[in-house]
Amino acid sequence: MVTPATQPRPAAETAGESAEFPAARLHVVTGKGGTGKTTVAAALALALATGGRRTLLVEVEGRQGIAQLFDSPPLPYAERRVAIAPGGGEVLALAVDDEAALLDYLEMFYSLRRAGRALRKMGAIDFATAIAPGLRDVLLTGKVKEAATRTEGGRRVYDAVILDAPPTGRITKFLNVTAEVSGLARVGPIKTQSDGVMAVLRSSQTAIHVVTLLEEMPVQETMDAIADLQATNLPVGAVFINAARDSLLPAADQKRALAGRLASTRVAAGLRAAGLDSDNHDGTSLAAALTDQAVAHALRISVEDESRQRLATLGLPTYELPLLPGPIDLGDLLELAGLLRSAGVR
C-alpha cells in the first residue's frame, strides 16, 4: 500500500489507536445512497462474528440487498445463516418485512395471530401500517431491538446485531420512533413499545455508524446526519470511509500534478524504456493521455484528502476500506472484514 508520507490520514491502520470501536450490541449502519452501506454492514457482521461469535445482519427496506451480496436466494422473514466467519463464527441474516412484523407484534402482545391472518386478507394490515408510518418504523426497529436483546437459557442469542438501516436522509426520523409516534399516539401500547425501543437505541448498547465516500456530497451528508443524530441524543459510533483510493503517484509528482507541472516528456521517456508504442488510438501521444490521467488521479486524491480532513474534525473513530474492483463477493467481504479486525473492530 502506497501512502503519501506528507499527508496525514486517520486511516484504518491508525484509527484503532486514537479511539476504540464502540462496544455496542446493536450496530446501526447508515450512509448516503450509493456509498456501499450494505457492503460495510455485511463486512462488519463478518468482523464481529470472527472467532466463534454469532451475529445477525438485518435489512428493513425490502431491497434484498443482503441476499444479493451473499449470492443467496431472497431472504424470508426468518433468521438464516448466510456465511461462516473466520475462526468458526457465523453470520445470520434477516429481512424484516413490515406486514410480518405487525403480525409478529399482534401475536406477541395480544395472541392475535389468527385474527392477523384475517386482517391480511382484508388488506387491513397494509392499511394499518400505511395509516401510521410511525407505526411501521416502531415495528421494524422493535424487531431489531428484540433480536439484539433476545436471550435463550440466560445467554444472549446474538453477540451483535447489525442493521443495514435507511440512508442518511431518513435515518434520524427512522430511529427517533418516539417522536414519530408521539403526534399519533400519546398513550397506549404502541407508545409503550416505542418507549422501550427508544430506551435501547439511546443507550450504550447501540452505536450508529455512518458510511461515506471521500467525495464532497457524501461527506457533507455524513456531517449533517451526525449533527442531526447527536442533536436527537442518538449515540453516534464510527465513520466508515468506503472505496478509498491511495495515491499511486510519488509525493513530489502528486504536488507537481496539482500545480499543473507534470511533464509528459518524463512519462514518454519511461514508456520508451518499457518498449510501448508512443501513439494513442486516436493519434495523440500515449504519454500525453497517461499524463492527463495521472493529473486527474492527483485531483481526485486531493479531494479525498480534503474529505478526510473534514471527517477528522468530527473526532469520531474512523475506519477506512479500500476501493475494490467488484462486483463485491463473499471473498471481498472477508477481506474487508479482515481489514476491520486488524484496525481494532471487534
Partner: protein, 376 residues
C-alpha cells in the same frame, strides 16, 4: 453491441416537449442531472422551471435556492441572449399539502384539518407523501402555464417505482372505504353500523384501537369528518397527473450510475414505463470512468509498470501506468455492466456522463455536465 445515443439537445429543443421527469435509484445524481438539463434548456431559449426535491446545499446555492418557500424563483445568469429563462424551486411537501387543503375547503374547515394531529403526521411523514406532493406540484406548475418546459427531479424513494405508484396508493387511501369506515362510528354507531360494515371490520377497528390507542382513531375520525368535502378529489387529481405523464408532451429520463444496483433499478423502471405505455426518452449513466488510452489494456499497462519498476527509475511513468491500469479496469467493469443493460433493453437510447473530480458548486459546473449530457 452499443446502444443508440440519446440526443439531449434534440429532446430539449422539441417544442412539443413540456415535461421531463428524471428518475432512478438514490445517489445516482438525479438532482444534478435535472438541474443541468434545466440550465441547458434555458440557455437554448426555453422558459423552464426545475422542481428539485432535496438538493444538496451547494447545488441548491448554485441555483440560487436560498429560500424554501415552495414557489419558483428566477435563476440569474441563465438564458443569455437566447431569450430563455430558468426558474427553480425546492418542493416543500407539507406546505404543498396544506395548500391543497386550503384550496378545497372553507377557512374554518381547513384550519380544523391543519391542526389535526393525524393530518400533521400524514402530511409530514406518511410513506408516499413526498411522491404524491411532487406529482401534485408538477400538476400545479403545468396548470399555471407560465413555463413551456418543466423538469422534475424525483424523491429519493426506496424504489424508483414509488414515484409512479405512491401517489395513487395514497389517493386511494385518502378516498378509500377503510378511512371512511373508521370515521363512521362518529356519525353512525351502534347496531346499524355493525350491520353495514360487518364483524371483520369491527375486529380490525378494535385491534387498531388496541395498538394505537383510542385517541388516534378519534383524530382520524375528526380528520375524515372535516375532509368530507374533498373526498373523491384526491384520487381524481392523482389520476389526472398520472394521465398527463402518459401524454406525448412528457419524456422520462432514467438516471443511473454504472453500478449493479443502480442499473438494476433503472432496468425495473424502464420495464415499468413500457408496461404503462409511458414515454421513455432514454438512460443517462452518470459518473462513468473512461480509459484515456483504450488501446493499452490494464494487464499490459500493469506488466509494463512491473518491468519498468524492476529496472529502476522512471517512477512517474510507473505510476502513470499503474493509474492507467486502475482506470482501465474500472472502465472495463462499468462497460460490462452497461452492456448488460443494453442487452436487456437494446432500443433504449443512452448517454454517459464522465465522472468529475469535484462537486457541482456553480452554474459553470452545471453547464459542463450539461455539455457532457449533450455530447460532442
Amino acid at each position: 453491441m452499443s446502444a443508440p445515443q440519446l440526443d439531449i439537445d434534440a429532446l430539449l429543443k422539441d417544442p412539443e416537449l413540456h415535461i421531463v421527469v428524471c428518475c432512478g435509484a438514490g445517489g445516482v445524481g438525479k438532482t444534478t442531472t435535472s438541474a443541468a438539463l434545466a440550465v441547458r434548456a434555458a440557455d437554448s431559449g426555453r422558459t423552464v422551471v426545475v422542481l428539485t426535491i432535496d438538493p444538496a446545499r451547494r447545488l441548491a446555492q448554485s441555483l440560487g435556492l436560498t429560500q424554501l418557500d415552495n414557489v419558483p424563483r428566477v435563476v440569474d445568469g441563465v438564458g443569455g441572449d437566447s431569450g430563455g429563462r430558468l426558474w427553480a424551486m425546492q418542493l416543500d411537501m407539507k406546505r404543498t399539502f396544506d395548500e391543497i387543503v386550503e384550496a378545497h375547503s372553507t377557512p374554518q374547515r381547513s384550519s380544523q384539518i391543519l391542526s389535526n394531529p393525524f393530518y400533521q403526521s400524514l402530511s409530514s411523514s406518511f410513506a408516499g407523501t413526498q411522491e404524491y406532493m411532487a406529482m401534485e406540484k408538477l400538476g400545479q406548475l403545468r396548470t399555471a402555464g407560465n413555463w413551456d418546459l418543466i423538469i422534475v427531479d424525483t424523491p429519493p424513494s426506496r424504489s424508483a417505482l414509488d414515484f409512479l405508484d405512491a401517489p395513487q396508493r395514497m389517493a386511494r387511501f385518502l378516498d378509500g372505504r377503510m378511512l371512511r369506515l373508521l370515521a363512521a362510528p362518529a356519525k353512525a354507531g351502534g347496531r346499524a353500523y355493525l350491520k353495514v360494515v360487518g364483524a371483520g371490520f369491527m375486529l380490525f377497528s378494535r385491534i387498531l384501537t388496541r395498538i394505537l390507542g383510542a385517541q388516534v382513531l378519534n383524530d382520524i375520525s375528526a380528520f375524515v369528518g372535516a375532509l368530507d368535502t374533498m373526498f373523491g378529489g384526491f384520487r381524481e387529481r392523482a389520476e389526472a397527473t398520472y394521465e398527463m405523464l402518459r401524454r406525448p408532451g412528457t419524456a422520462f429520463l432514467v438516471v443511473a450510475s454504472p453500478e449493479p444496483d443502480a442499473l438494476r433499478e433503472a432496468s425495473y423502471f424502464v420495464d415499468r414505463l413500457a408496461v404503462d405505455k409511458m414515454p421513455l426518452a432514454g438512460l443517462v449513466v452518470n459518473r462513468v470512468h473512461r480509459s484515456a488510452a483504450p488501446g493499452l489494456s490494464a494487464q499490459w499497462a500493469e506488466a509494463a509498470a512491473d518491468s519498468l519498476a524492476e529496472a529502476g527509475g522512471h517512477e512517474l511513468a510507473v505510476a502513470a501506468l499503474r493509474i492507467h491500469a486502475e482506470q482501465a479496469t474500472l472502465a472495463a467493469r462499468e462497460r460490462r455492466l452497461t452492456q448488460r443493460f443494453d442487452k436487456a433493453h437494446p432500443d433504449v437510447a443512452r448517454r454517459e456522463v464522465p465522472a468529475l473530480a469535484g462537486d457541482v458548486h456553480d452554474l459553470a459546473a452545471l453547464r459542463e455536465i450539461a455539455g457532457a449530457l449533450a455530447g460532442p
